[in-house]
Symmetry: C2
Subunit: 341 residues, 2 copies
């Protein structure tokens, strides 16, 4: 007699054992029915399948993940700084798309660009035995990401130095250059830049390209035309208020991301300036609402969804061949010329 009582669980679902009993085979056979169907006798297979359907059997993914040390565990960890940022929402969408096709589940983590929170989530993902982690590092040499050893990692969207991880990102210097060349060609010379946080590799690349573009055209670039923002809307507001109040007001503003562009436009409107007459605006990221603005926002479009898909692709590839050389994919941004410039 059993000396161990079964505790009252919420959902007593059928397991291998139940199916085995119903089909009059061993649990090994049932397991094989899903994992290596070719090994089964056609007749046995029929019986098993019927039993499975009758019992509404679904393999328990938790048990499977616990047992499986070599094969895929069908779970991806996805870190995101801020899900309400449309750029990252689009990345998430791409990841989900690709994951769904492979029957992978996605565990979503929101770091808020906070190191401690990110570290917590990374530990959690390890403890969940994910197959791998897709993550935009908080900065260049993000130690919590670099510390991720023995686990496939794909750095997405942001540069990571000194790692041997696979990566996908968009050419930020190119994007910024496209924006700047466009403004310069339009005759602008006093082009301000509202940048993102210093630690953010993406922001820095765009900032550098802003500087370089001006230098390449022998255009002055006083420090007063640079504003360091936070990639949030209020950062754009603060930046625009400062820059547009300068005695020598810039004739154009290049904004580092779409959330800040929002703030800039609000200020521009509030100040009663005309766009692009008084000041031209070029944003980064091309959210759905860019075209609905009036004037519609000229912006740098990034293939974010594609980036998400690729990250999954790289991750799965790495699972199959752990020894392969790290692969780095750089996607191409695109200038969407609209009425704001």
């Amino acid at each position: 007699m059993p000396r161990y009582r079964k505790p009252a669980g919420p959902a007593p679902r059928a397991g291998l054992t139940d199916v085995a009993r119903a089909a009059r085979v061993s649990i090994a056979t049932v397991s094989r029915a899903t994992n290596s169907p070719d090994l089964l006798d056609k007749d046995t297979m029929q019986r098993v399948k019927r039993a499975m359907e009758k019992l509404d059997y679904t393999p328990n993914r938790v048990a499977r993940r616990l047992r499986q040390r070599t094969g895929p565990r069908h779970l991806i960890g996805l870190m995101v700084p801020e899900i309400e940022n449309p750029h990252f929402a689009e990345i998430v969408r791409g990841v989900e798309d690709a994951a769904y096709e492979q029957a992978y589940a996605v565990m979503l983590c929101n770091s808020d660009n906070n190191d401690a929170k990110q570290q917590f989530y990374l530990d959690l993902l390890r403890a969940e035995s994910v197959d791998g982690i897709i993550i935009p590092p908080i900065h260049d040499r993000d130690p919590s990401v670099l510390g991720l050893t023995g686990l496939p990692v794909v750095a997405i969207d942001r540069r990571l130095r000194g790692s041997s991880f696979d990566s996908v990102r968009v050419d930020n210097r190119l994007g910024a250059r496209l924006a700047m060349e466009h403004l310069l060609a339009r005759g602008h010379r006093a082009i301000a830049h509202i940048a993102g946080p210093r630690q953010n590799p993406t922001s820095m690349e765009r900032l550098e390209a802003w500087r370089e573009s001006l230098a390449a055209h022998r255009v002055d670039c006083p420090a007063s035309l640079l504003w360091q923002g936070n990639n949030l809307r209020d950062g754009g507001v603060a930046g625009a208020e400062a820059l547009l109040s300068l005695r020598k007001r810039p004739t154009a503003v290049f904004v580092c991301n779409c959330m800040m562009a929002l703030g800039v436009l609000e200020v521009v409107n509030r100040m009663g300036l005309s766009v692009p007459g008084d000041v031209a605006v070029v944003g980064y990221d091309d959210p759905p609402w860019a075209q609905a603005l009036r004037p519609a926002l000229t912006a740098i479009r990034q293939p974010a969804r594609e980036m998400g898909r690729m990250a999954v692709e790289l991750l799965l590839r790495r699972l199959n061949s752990p020894g392969a050389r790290p692969e780095h994919r750089i996607l191409i941004p695109e200038l969407m010329i609209r009425q704001s410039s």
Copy 2:
């Protein structure tokens, strides 16, 4: 000698056994150290803790979830129709907020309002032994949601009939009424409505309230003023093109969600109509960009983040007291009056 070879795994992390060996105690004691620390001798506790730190031990959440049938498994399943819709992104954010505070992980699923895809994900979530599922049903009597038995479910954002699940949503009729009363007070009589899909309970509630508001004011409501959209941007475009080309052009449009409002504004701009002079526009949902539009969009604001937080709260509450009566929370929307009306 072992007849079972350990397969080469990617990340051989320390387990209870390793800690137990290092601390010279049994695995039971180590387990208790994390789960019921009070039971341990102070001295033993010290030894165990030290061993844990030395080995960088983290409990394996997968094994824990497999074993645990009574306690919480610290995993929530979250379904979302479309993560790129800012309304749902905000809900996700709220859920993540609350989940993080309780050290819960979130498994994110994107249904695309597609029944088959949703069913797939629901099966997956069961197979992952989630503690419960937070989901906006695709429609009123969504069978795949109603079929979710033996598992805590919280219906979020959209009405679900004939269930005993907990729920949180926003009063859609009230929201629509606020919008309509506002337009009527401004003197509008020919108020068109661009509705969402028929199957979507939320859209239907807003549609009904549109009708009722007009009726309450004894205003005519010809079928030509109603356009059935798809809650996506192109739906808004199609709707606006149709409605604004009517011989008797409406003087105002009430749009069912923010994505479609985007499309409407594009068409309005393209047609060269002035807002609110030629036509007033009121949207639903209050995304960050509503204020950046020119004119800024009058809209109904929903406490989406709060809704997400509450859903988690309800879920955890249900876990603790499975027998409690279903709880239904109705949140209050708010009219944000801006320049588009």
